[in-house]
Amino acid sequence: MSTADTVIVNASSGEDADRPHAEGLKQDAFLERLRLFGLCSPALLLVLVIMVLPVTWLFYISFLSDEGTFSLEHYQRMIDSKSYTRIFLTTFKVSILTTFICVIIGYPLAYFLSQLPRRAAAICMITVLLPFWTSLLVRTYAWLVLLQRKGILNTWAIDLGLWDEPLKLVHNLSGTLIGMVHIMLPFLVLPVYGSMKVIDNDYLKAASNLGATPAQAFRQVFLPLSMPGLFAGALIVFVLCLGFFVTPAVLGGGKIIMVSMRITDNIELFFNWGAASALGVVLLALTMGILYASSRLLKLDRILGGGGH
């Protein structure tokens, strides 16, 4: 009897008796994919509304003249005016220097943390992360207090006889760098620490067993294996620096003008949304260009995707 039923069902849905439920299973798979897509649609919608639309709009108004007609005047001005070139050069100089100093300080720090026992590492990590939990503005003004002419650092140093005249530590490049390095350091330390933690100790034992001195083992095994984390961290720091505003504005004392500051000026002082948008577009394009170039150069997809394995 049941055999007869099966035959009828198969006949009615027009299915091949050798491939039972083929159509139905295919349909189930399609519906499942559809439901999964449905689950991420709120996030996609959010990205569309707060990311894609504003950037497109930004892009659009950067090509509008003050009269509302299509024009390249905002871009033309960037090419003609020397000050814009200088601003972009300053932005890149500050970003590269900050990244470089972060690498110099952050790599040994991450190495130190990765070698500590778990509990001690957790405590030290809190001190690294502490800056994350206080307001950016508070930290920046704190540096102002510490570094200014009659600030704590200068006073103490003179009392101790380290230098005689108060050093100009703030309202210039060094002040900007000190503040930015302080704020950026965790962004470098975290990925580097992560990549160091997963380096199996046996690699170093093997190197040592094969005749490598501790320095050789570090140089030829540990360092290359921690490189993915270092590249990732340096890239994050560099890209964040490119768009940085508060710290250079406060600690640079008007001498360090970054792209983000000129954008603010364009809007707040000159009410020129077109010029501000054009700057934003160029900064975005440069950042994307750098990301793309470094991903080609450093095989970033493998670095970020594979975590070094």
Binding site: D200, D202, Y203, K205, A206, A207, S208, N209, L210, G211, A212, T213, P214, Q216, A217, Q220, V221, P224, L225, G308, H309
Partner: protein, 364 residues
Amino acid sequence: MNENRQRGEALPIFISNTTKTYGDVFALDSVSLDIKSGEFMTLLGPSGSGKTTLLMVLAGFTRPDHGSVKFGDREVVRTPPHKRDVGMVFQNYALFPHMTVAANVGFPLKLRGVASAEMADRVEGALETVQLGGYGARRIDQLSGGQKQRVALARAIVFEPRILLMDEPLSALDKKLREHMQIELRHLHDKLGMTTVYVTHDQREALTMSDRIAVINHGKLMQLDKPRQIYDFPSNKFVADFIGESTFLPVEVTGGKASYNGTQLKTAINPSSAASYDLLMRPERVSLVNGRTPRDTNVFKGTVSDLVFQGEAFLMYATLSDGTNVAVRGSTLRDTMANLPTVGSSVTLGLHKDDTVLISDAGA
């Protein structure tokens, strides 16, 4: 360099009074062990027995509390690992993932300043030794488990160390490949002739490969002997239990003769009456007796409680009159299978007098 290549002689290893404690736990408890030059020595023991600690002491990664380790005449206990010049195969291979196969194998040569032309030759030679000729350009993540194993081995022997250490190198491989590699490693050892110290928890692997086996438990050397001797005449209950399958029957010793359940046993070696003893029964040494009792054989009467077909063997459990369950294993020859007693029927078990081994309880 040439000097490096010519010193091919294997070295003996002398370990004496070596102790390593972690807190109150003795990982090594005053271990003394001499390994002959060119010997394949296996350190066998359960996990946590101290066998790996001993290997790490040999490699220089673990610093003992006290003790002496000599490679030939050279005292090395305070020598750092990179100056010991021993090859080592790690359990997880520890192949450098950022280097190719050739760079991995060439690594120890590069550190020793071998010229690049000679290095290429020797790398290829080592790869050919492990049957991976032509694999030099591969990345490590392109290799199968068995191939990684071989590369790790090639890297450990390419600089021609006189001592080779292996830490459970086959444990990550599947059974078939593992058994194949056991034979291959043994052949390689015979070919290269370096003193080999091999750590495993797999007793069959130890029996298959070793010249001698050092059974270790709780940081102490339990027995040191040839595989056959260890299997046939374990010197204490731990070794008897750890190696092979075993059933223990309590025996009484009176006047230098052992008896079980009132019946005197024929034994190859008579016990000294001092200690208490157990009779060791290996499942495959127990025979099923039909009819007349063969000469020089002890017999035990029991009831079949379980009978399992395992393919190449059958496994039978027989309950003796005192309630002890004895395992019996036999090959599944057609005649044997036809005459096997059924569950619940009575059975007579035979144990040849040479297989009737008494194990002293002392020291277990």
